[in-house]
């Protein structure tokens, strides 16, 4: 009975031949995560995934900031689908959770209103002389990693276990609101029991922390962050989450949304500098990892090629707990091998 109940919370995830769409925020703040996703799919799992050079923003941040009309976003989405169609793919994988929500919204509206779909086709033709097919399968890259989590496990060099205590690492997972709150049926576990990240954590040896504000928004709020005067909204929401998770002493936070990852990382720095407060005991802050970084790290990829040095909350204490081999001398080297000047140290957030 329990098993049948859980089946209602599954979704179809294609097995191979994906069309990848990059995320504005992921590329900006954590480009190493997108590179890791492609490397994992191609090299570890032997999958085919297309990285098309003609793609562009889906306009999602502009759409939810209300500077881009729905009709415009819908037609930009149609152009992206035309690129997929042109390359012969049917399985669309957008890197960004906001994009995932936008694509889901557009497709649902087309399904409910065939005239709107016809209008999108006319707009796209008038603007670009392009045509498109609607993807057969749209999933977020975190869904793909979730699907193959047990295939990746035997290839992993490390597990989510504290090597000093032998106990599972305790992990907070944060899922972007637009992954399953808008269209619950499109998320693994729907909005009530989202399992996409929890499934990875448990499969790879860790323990998921449940805490009161687990499902609260990270606080991005689009215009509430993008306009400087409004940022109190954003940091207040993040602070609420940290206050709620603090008693559970997480070893790290795992996210599937590019924006959430950046906010949960950078607002910890800001709160530390403003209030001399961190939410771990030692004053380093709680590391915030993308699911691509976590998978890459456990597979033994070089953390400095994954981009861990771009997080304001540094991850070396976590590496030491897991036993990750890393070379600290490589952290601040560039592509040329030249040692770059070190970044300035925060005043309050601790770094070694």
């Amino acid at each position: 009975m329990e098993k049948r109940f859980w089946n209602e919370y599954q979704k179809e995830i294609a097995d191979d031949h994906f069309f990848y769409e990059r995320s504005c925020i992921r590329q900006t703040f954590f480009p190493g995560s997108e590179a890791a996703f492609l490397r994992i799919l191609r090299n570890e799992l032997g999958k085919d995934i297309c990285d098309n050079p003609h793609q562009h923003t889906c306009t999602g941040i502009g759409y939810h900031s209300d500077v881009v009309p729905f009709e415009t976003t819908m037609t930009v989405v149609a152009r992206l689908f035309s690129l997929m169609t042109e390359c012969g793919y049917e399985n669309y994988v957008p890197s960004c959770v906001t994009s995932f929500g936008v694509f889901s919204e557009v497709i649902e509206k087309w399904e409910n209103n065939p005239k709107l779909l016809e209008q999108a086709r006319q707009y796209l033709w008038e603007a670009t002389k392009r045509e498109f097919n609607i993807p057969k399968n749209i999933v977020h890259p975190s869904d793909v990693i979730y699907k193959f989590r047990f295939d990746l496990k035997p290839k992993m060099k490390y597990q989510l276990v504290n090597r000093f205590t032998g106990k599972p690492l305790r992990v907070v997972e944060h899922i972007g609101c637009h992954y399953a709150k808008i269209f619950p049926e499109r998320g693994i576990g729907k909005a009530e029991f989202p399992y996409v990240l929890a499934g990875m954590i448990e499969a790879w040896g860790g323990e998921v922390i449940d805490y009161p504000e687990r499902r609260h928004c990270c606080g991005f709020g689009f215009r509430q962050y993008l306009v400087q005067e409004n940022r109190g909204y954003s940091i207040a929401n993040t602070k609420k989450k940290f206050q709620s998770m603090e008693p559970y002493e997480p070893d790290f936070i795992l996210t599937n949304c590019p924006g959430c990852n950046m906010f949960l990382d950078k607002w910890q720095y800001t709160i530390a500098e403003m209030e001399h407060k961190t939410y771990d005991k030692e004053g380093y802050g709680i590391p915030v990892l993308t699911y691509e970084e976590l998978a890459g790290l456990l597979l033994g990829y070089d953390p400095w090629k994954l981009g861990f040095q771009l997080h304001q909350v540094q991850s070396e204490p976590l590496f030491n707990k897991i036993g990750i081999a890393y070379n600290p001398d490589e952290k601040y080297k560039g592509i040329s091998g030249r040692l770059l000047p070190r970044p300035a140290r925060p005043e309050c957030l601790r770094q070694d």
Binding site: R22, Q27, T28, P31, G32, A35, D51, P53, Q55, H56, T57, T59, I61, G62, H64, S65, D66, V67, V68, P69, F70, E71, K109, N113, L116, Y123, L124, E126, A127, C177, H178, A180, K181, I182, C217, G219, F220, G221, F222, R223, V227, N230, Y233, A236, N237, K266, Y269, T270, W304, Q309, L310, Q312, K333, G334, I335, L340, P343, A344, R345, P346
Partner: protein
């Protein structure tokens, strides 16, 4: 302005956003904006549903409609299948088209957003790009961000990015040919008209 209710209903999202609200307040209970601002999505749904023209016009001219953070938690929770966050999209679009947004402090911020996010889309094909995240405007990004920006040509390729490069990859330069298609879409679908209305208001 004539009939504002009819005007709002011209938006393709209006019907789905507000079907029938029973004023239970579930949306307000779960709303992050309602915790932070003097904001109550239940009242907004009620105002629009009652259809009083003067009240709707006042709403379109107020700060209130600009408080929503678009997390869409309200959609998950509404027992009647309404989407208050989407109703906000409908109201914000109308407020900009009618020039009402310029009568509120929060509404006027749309000019800033047109000058940043929309400008980025039309000029470089990204909503957000490291070249356009200025550390002076984003002190919360911390010293790591300043360091990354200063040395991005050394660091981005190490992370597999194709910063300003031709072809595929993260942070690639989007070609003029592709950008022109995006710009043309904005022209054909009303994106440019909205931009002009906000800039000129």
């Amino acid at each position: 302005m004539g009939n504002l209710v009819d005007y709002l209903n011209q938006d393709v999202r209006a019907e789905e956003a507000l079907k029938a609200c029973m004023n239970c307040g579930m949306c307000t209970a779960v709303c992050p904006a309602a915790e932070f601002y003097d904001y109550d999505p239940r009242r907004i749904c009620d105002t629009v549903q009652r259809g009083n023209e003067n009240e709707i016009e006042a709403l379109l001219k107020s700060d209130t409609i600009w408080y929503c953070g678009q997390c869409m938690s309200c959609k998950t929770r509404c027992p009647r299948g309404n989407v208050p966050g989407e109703l906000i999209n409908v109201l914000r679009k109308a407020s900009q088209e009618l020039g009402y947004f310029a009568e509120s402090e929060k509404g006027l911020q749309q000019k800033q957003l047109m000058g940043s996010i929309e400008k980025n889309i039309l000029e470089i094909g990204y909503c957000v790009h490291p070249d356009r995240v200025d550390p002076d405007y984003h002190p919360e990004q911390g010293p790591i961000w300043e360091w990354y920006r200063e040395h991005i040509e050394e660091i981005a390729p190490k992370l597999g990015a194709n910063y300003h490069g031709d072809g595929a990859g993260a942070l690639r330069k989007i070609s003029e040919e592709d950008l022109n298609e995006v710009r043309r879409i904005f022209e054909v679908t009303g994106g440019m008209d909205l931009k002009k209305k906000v800039e000129e208001a």
